[in-house]
């Protein structure tokens, strides 16, 4: 149930995109707490099985590089 309808799409996206398995041991993740950094969505994750902690960032289909100043 979503309490604040203004952000129902974000809640749906969270449920859809949250990492489900540990990148280190492939066990189901215990925590994937989402936060934003600029336009990037990040998930602060923790695996109870192997104690892995890390951030997972969604990128979409486009790969972006950067151009050094010149």
């Amino acid at each position: 149930m979503i309490g604040d309808r203004r952000f129902a799409a974000d809640a749906d996206a969270h449920r859809r995109d949250q990492p489900r398995y540990c990148p280190a041991c492939a066990t189901a993740l215990d925590l994937a707490s989402e936060f934003w950094e600029g336009d990037e969505r990040r998930f602060y994750c923790w695996c109870a099985s192997c104690e892995w902690t890390g951030e997972v960032t969604t990128t979409g289909a486009t790969a972006l590089g950067h151009e050094p100043e010149h």
């Binding site: 952000f7 974000d10 449920r15 707490s33 989402e34 923790w46």
Partner: protein, 445 residues
């Protein structure tokens, strides 16, 4: 942002839930010692359950679930006797171990008494508070954190708040809120009400960092004009898992206690010890307590003092804040770290381990790291701001507390002139705990 299921799990306090089982591994303050001196039995709600707490004439404490095992009448209306608590309805008596020691209308020498044992918790008195443990055996020791045993002048402010304790704990790992809630917002309210908010609370954060340690999470900050050498970074102050935060500065030592009464009610307590350098001990036969204001006569939050601002923020997030539609930023990384810690302890308890901060070694005092020069405001200035702008201004002891700080400052000057050391209270002395080379998790420059 979490799923609804994760939010539900995180905020639960009831027996049989993952988090409720973690919470039942800790001791909680459930009464002021003076309450049971005034009347020896009290109804207590803790972690969503009701209990009867009592103190025998010889000073022995007991706690059992509120319903009598006989026909469920409230033991909180019981008769306190030297050997236990007697039900007011039919006189069944239970001792501090929960053993039924008398069933007046039943035959003697039957096993009936053994069938109706009450599940007794453990109770101890420390620092003017009565503490209870209602979890499984073997009970851990009651931690003798510095503020409860150190020298100093004490008082306790409190309020019952209509919100879940986790959102209050998340505030304890949210350094940035100080700059706005107690800085910019305080200024705004002051401008309308005709007072000047303390400048030190509005200093801009340059950097924040968090370290897990044996009792919780140490929170660090570098404010504008300061460096890694200042106490706010080098020492910081801790969230004491799972329901406390140790704060202080300027000779003031405080434990902010957030007892989960039930899922949507939290007993907020400010256990404060005034112990500046030069403190001259005062007799305190009992620790005074006082209720701090939450709402005004119009039902609006009282926001012209520091803790009132915090309370406003915690309560207006809702009884259980909806984490499915929140939007955390990078500056909220401490909140994510705390959620991980809660999850870690759920797993630990399920694995049969003690959760974080469980104390089983006998000890005299546990000193927690806590900055002395808070917000690099200068100790005396911080103490004055604390008295004028915080909950202490509602304390019946306010005048005495002011005198404690002023006379201590005078004493230090005199001692310095005379070339003798000033009295420094024992305990509550923050130490630098940041490991050399440790990098902050967040750099918000």
């Amino acid at each position: 942002m979490l799923t609804a299921e994760q939010n539900d799990e995180l905020t639960a306090v009831e027996a049989g839930t993952r988090m409720g089982e973690v919470l039942r591994r800790y001791w909680y303050p459930v009464a002021f010692a003076r309450e049971l001196a005034e009347f020896p039995v009290k109804r207590v709600e803790l972690l969503g359950e009701f209990f009867a707490l009592w103190r025998s004439p010889s000073g022995r404490y007991g706690i059992i679930p509120e319903p009598c095992p006989h026909r469920k009448a409230s033991m909180a209306y019981g008769v306190v006797e030297e050997d236990g608590l007697r039900c007011p309805y039919h006189g069944w008596r239970f001792d501090t171990d929960g053993v039924c020691t008398d069933q007046p209308a039943e035959k003697d020498n039957t096993n009936f008494q053994n069938r109706v044992r009450a599940t007794a918790g453990k109770v101890e008195e420390l620092g003017g508070l009565v503490w209870a443990y209602v979890g499984p055996d073997p009970a851990p020791l009651l931690p003798r954190f510095d503020v409860y045993v150190m020298d100093g002048f004490r008082d306790i402010g409190w309020a019952d708040l209509p919100c879940n304790y986790v959102q209050i704990m998340e505030n304890a790992v949210d350094p940035h809120h100080v700059e706005y809630l107690h800085g910019r917002y305080f200024e705004f309210i002051g401008a309308h009400e005709g007072f000047t908010a303390p400048a030190s609370f509005g200093k801009q954060h340059q950097r924040i960092g968090f370290d897990a340690f044996e009792y919780g999470i140490i929170k660090r900050r570098i404010l504008a004009g300061a460096s890694e050498e200042n106490d706010d970074w080098k020492v910081g102050h801790p969230l004491v898992f799972p329901y406390n935060m140790r704060v202080g500065g300027g000779g003031i030592h405080q434990m902010q206690i957030r007892v989960p009464i039930n899922r949507t009610t939290t007993r907020f307590m400010l256990y404060t010890v005034h112990a500046p350098e030069g403190y001259e001990p005062l007799e305190q036969p009992a620790v005074p307590d006082y209720e701090i204001p939450v709402f005004d006569e119009r039902g609006r939050h009282v926001v012209n003092y520091v803790e009132g601002q915090d309370i406003m923020a915690w309560c207006t997030q809702g009884p259980i804040t909806d984490r499915t539609t929140e939007h955390l930023g990078r500056s909220d990384i401490g909140v994510a770290m705390l959620r991980k810690m809660f999850k870690q302890q759920m797993a630990a308890v399920e694995n049969g381990e003690d959760p974080l901060g469980t104390v089983r070694e006998p000890h005299e005092r546990i000193d927690l790291p806590c900055e002395k020069d808070k917000f690099h405001a200068g100790g005396a200035q911080f103490a004055l701001d604390f008295c004028d702008m915080g909950s202490t201004r509602f304390s019946p002891m306010l005048d005495t507390i002011r005198k404690v700080h002023l006379s201590a400052a005078d004493r230090v000057v005199k001692d310095k002139a005379a070339g003798r050391p000033s009295f420094t209270p024992e305990g509550g002395i923050g130490t630098a705990t940041l490991t050399p080379g440790t990098s902050a998790q967040v750099d918000s420059e």
